[in-house]
Symmetry: C2
Amino acid sequence: MLNVGIVQQSNTADIVLNRSKLKANILACAEKGAQLVVLQELHDSLYFCQTESPENFDLAVTIPGAETAYYSEIAKSAKIVLVTSLFEKRAPGLYHNTAVVFDSDGSIAGKYRKMHIPDDPAYYEKFYFTPGDLGFTPIQTSLGKLGVLVCWDQWYPEAARLMALAGAELLIYPTAIGWESTDAAEEKQRQTDAWMIAQRAHAVANGLHVISVNRCGYEPDPSAVTNGIEFWGNSFVAGPQGEILFQAPNSKEINQVISLDLLRTETVRRMWPFFRDRRIDAFGNITKRYLD
Amino acid sequence: MLNVGIVQQSNTADIVLNRSKLKANILACAEKGAQLVVLQELHDSLYFCQTESPENFDLAVTIPGAETAYYSEIAKSAKIVLVTSLFEKRAPGLYHNTAVVFDSDGSIAGKYRKMHIPDDPAYYEKFYFTPGDLGFTPIQTSLGKLGVLVCWDQWYPEAARLMALAGAELLIYPTAIGWESTDAAEEKQRQTDAWMIAQRAHAVANGLHVISVNRCGYEPDPSAVTNGIEFWGNSFVAGPQGEILFQAPNSKEINQVISLDLLRTETVRRMWPFFRDRRIDAFGNITKRYLD
């Protein structure tokens, strides 16, 4: 069994405070037996992509650097594998939305640069993040190969499939998604359901566990163009048939440890051998934008 | 609005009886205003793939032939587009699991040969059906381009995506899937949920309505190797956010007409422009069996 800790929290403009709260939650998971801990997307700060402001690039960090040293030390002291999500400064004018995975000895096991970058009102990520250039490559850790993807990637079955084909043993999504407060209740429900269905379906299609960790709490729009984002929480873990093993509430901060039986992947894939029958001879057009 | 009729029924060994029941259900849908009617997979007969028996090839029909004439006449008289699912005899020793779509004038609008063929206990389809060679090509009808896929295809996000990229305006799955009676209740629930999640996720990922029509009723295993199949019904229609617009019970025969607002595809894709951001430069390995 693999014990996975997930940390869902609300953030403030105080980065030091956010980090110390994260540390306390990570250590709480470790004390409860977590071997792997997953944090939400861009967990150090507010979700700054609500506006396009050049000064927000000051929030970016070099990898490695002081910030990775902070999480490295936590991973090492708690003897856990830790999945973080950082705003990476790679060069002047070149930034990524990057998940950094620390192994239990504190080393950087690998990083994943978010491949799919959204841009819609209150989520102006294309202004900040260059699309990833590391491909859909699982990160080898002492606990196995982790298929780490980030937020907007979760809507793309191709991303999940490529991670699975490359040997990922589970799929992990740090994410930051929420409701616009003026949306009707039914629309909010449809959005949250769609978000869960899409990711649970990655579990089904690939016979893998899926871990999705979202932030919670309300963050106002500094530009007042929208009514801000009410991050919808609902961090969850699904088994390889898409079944929900744990689901957090929408607005409550939590740290929670869930035990995963990774051997179920073998069992489920024997029963539903989807990989056996993929029509790879007929999939070539997946690399096309549209067929017209 | 597009009014879609779906027919979920149980079958017997009496093909003439099955067909006359189908006809009555199709006409009942048409009377209720259906413009498009979708039937379940291999609706003319029992699900004969529970065993590998050479004499079952006698059930196959040529396309066109007397059987397509039967459905052509129904489509024409009811002025509907009709999605059927037939056991196609193409040549001696060459058979397919083929969906034939009739336009409202009775002509054959097109056919789709099931691309992904399953083979697991009680579903020995690889014995009977050569994998399709027509690709993932939508069928143009007077009601629009229909993305017709069949059963086992429903587990493959690639199939849904390719239909959507080729301009399908909705996805349609005739299917025949059920429970083995000795499975635990929780396992049955996981299977049904996974089946729905996988298809609802195709709706989400592609911003399209999905229509899935399954058979119901119990059919014994003639070989007595398994305990037979309890087809789980639950035929459903999902909107382009994966929301359930209609869901049939698991064991009851139904004919039902559901109104679809196909304009929602445009609305939903503007809000969630997944097609805009697909990393087609990084999807090439989708055509690989495995990356090792």
